[in-house]
């Protein structure tokens, strides 16, 4: 059975759709739990993680690479949660964090601006103009975040399998479409797809362990064989050897670990 990610702009009814899809299919519904997992596992406050996945990196953060670290932690925590599939994830950036796993049904929910304004006005008790500005600012941040970390636009249609506009279509219609699409062959969790997800989870775990000290690291994993791509100058550091030994000893599922220095990152590296 597939993994479903539901992405949306703020106040676009995505949460309601996700809840109904999970209830209908009997899947686990996850969102904030991923941040809590990452927070406790990597000892970073939930607020910092939330900010990392929501706001675009500032000038200083671009040099400190803290955002890359936080995103790697969140990605690793998310991978652990979805590896057993039958999951609906409606937290931020699911379609990007789970890129590369074949049985992920990536859904985008769009809502008409006026409808979004109405929801924010009712929820926060603010006038229409303030609600509009708040939504626009939120959309702007999402756009900047996706551009800065993934060089893509969240409104780019090629990122999604299904994009539904909750305007003429209702939440129930959207649920119907998503459940229908989830049953198609392309999204079924075959043995091969499951292996790929498990490999990705290992790669994300290794990356999360290294990213603090080596922010430019890239990791791939195939059948438990891990390839680590580092910059040439990082490969001579004793710290890297020490870290790799630690990873070998503590992490399960790794058969072989190999380092490549000064080589261009492959496109599927996390």
């Amino acid at each position: 059975m597939p993994i479903i990610t539901i992405s949306r702009g703020s106040s676009s009814m995505g949460k309601a759709v996700a809840e109904k899809v999970a209830a209908r299919l009997g899947y686990r519904l996850i969102s904030r739990e991923v941040l809590l997992d990452a927070s406790s596992r990597f000892n970073v406050s939930e607020m910092k993680l939330e900010k990392a996945i929501h706001d675009a990196p500032g000038i200083l953060e671009r040099y400190r690479h803290s955002k890359q670290s936080y995103v790697a932690y969140i990605r690793s925590a998310l991978m652990e949660r979805i590896v057993d599939d039958n999951v609906v994830y409606h937290g931020l950036a699911g379609h990007l964090l789970l890129k590369g796993i074949p049985h992920v049904l990536k859904v985008r929910i769009n809502a008409d601006m006026e409808r979004r304004i109405k929801i924010v006005m009712e929820r926060d008790g603010i006038p229409a103009e303030e609600a509009r500005l708040r939504i626009q600012e939120d959309d702007k941040q999402r756009r900047k975040w996706t551009h800065s970390l993934y060089d893509q636009d969240p409104w780019d249609s090629s990122l999604y399998d299904l994009s539904i506009c909750i305007d003429k279509l209702s939440v129930d219609n959207a649920v119907e479409f998503i459940c229908q699409a989830a049953e198609t062959d392309g999204f079924q969790a075959t043995e091969r797809n499951r292996n790929k997800a498990a490999d990705m989870a290992i790669a994300c775990r290794v990356k999360a362990a290294l990213v603090d000290d080596f922010p430019h690291v890239g990791v791939t994993c195939e059948y438990g064989n891990v390839l680590i791509y580092v910059r040439a100058k990082d490969s001579v550091a004793g710290k890297l050897t020490k870290k790799l030994n630690q990873i070998r000893e503590t992490m399960d599922g790794i058969h072989h670990l190999e380092t490549h220095a000064g080589v261009e990152l492959p496109p599927d590296a996390v």
Partner: protein, 271 residues
């Protein structure tokens, strides 16, 4: 009873999905086969109309901005008039960009997806997958530029469509089933009000096409047979232009009253 408007990033896929949806629903197809009729009605060359749908104005092709807008307005007027017949699947005529705020018109975008779409392009053009990707990206950028120039709408914007389906993992059979299923929803059924909106839109487009034949820079709105035309003119030309617009628009079937709003054209004023 509804109108289904389908667009895609790959023409062959668009045609295939349209064919299947039309067959499944028992609807008629509205596509570029009408171009010859449009050309005959407006006394223009069919090739020029196709060119207007594909390209932006260019000196090299001897297609001025004014001609281009006129050709597009002819197509728009004809398509909107034909859409009044209902039970149609429309494609290839840019209707997704000008059929706006009509609740019974369902707009669908079908994306070829990275794997299947690129393979199709590569096979058809005899090029590598990498070159096919560059070709597709260029084509998308070109279409985006065209749609913004022609109707001030971004064709690639997700929020313009009721449903966007990528064929990467969802197969065409499932896509057709989803589209036909969605078209049954109550929100896409014809209502008196949505039909009235379409009639108004069609009348405005008809008047627009008539006016663009002899002048540029006009905007037209219509409501229950009353037409409001907005344009620009210098103080000297204001009266004459108003009279011309009233005379031309008044000849169009269905127009009962014409109101003209003229803004000052400062450029002509200073010249």
């Amino acid at each position: 009873m509804s109108i289904i408007i389908i667009s895609s990033d790959v023409r062959e896929i668009e045609e295939m999905i349209v064919g299947k949806v039309a067959e499944e629903k028992g609807y008629g197809r509205l596509d570029r086969r009408i171009i010859n009729d449009v050309a005959a009605r407006h006394q223009v060359e069919p090739g020029r109309l196709i060119e207007a749908l594909e390209t932006t104005p260019s000196l090299f092709r001897k297609l001025s901005s004014r001609q281009w807008r006129y050709y597009l307005s002819c197509i728009e007027a004809d398509v909107l008039e034909r859409l009044l017949a209902d039970n149609l699947v429309c494609w290839g005529l840019a209707a997704h960009l000008y059929v706006t705020d009509i609740s019974h018109a369902m707009k669908i975008r079908v994306l070829a997806g990275k794997s299947s779409g690129l393979a199709k392009i590569a096979e058809e053009r005899g090029i590598s997958l990498q070159r096919a990707e560059t070709y597709r990206d260029d084509e998308m950028a070109r279409r985006k530029k065209w749609s913004l120039a022609a109707f001030n709408q971004d064709e690639t914007d997700l929020s313009r469509y009721d449903l966007v389906i990528s064929l990467d993992q969802i197969d065409p059979v499932e896509t057709v089933r989803t589209i036909t299923g969605a078209s049954e929803y109550r929100k896409f059924q014809v209502m008196t009000y949505s039909m009235k909106c379409l009639t108004d839109l069609a009348l405005a487009a008809k008047v627009h096409a008539v006016l663009l034949k002899s002048m540029a820079d006009v905007k037209v709105q219509a409501r229950d047979g009353s037409v409001v035309v907005s344009t620009r003119a210098s103080t000297r030309q204001k009266r004459k232009k108003t009279e011309t617009i009233k005379a031309l628009a008044g000849q169009v079937d269905g127009v009962g009253y014409v109101e003209v709003h003229v803004k000052k054209n400062f450029l002509k004023e200073t010249a």
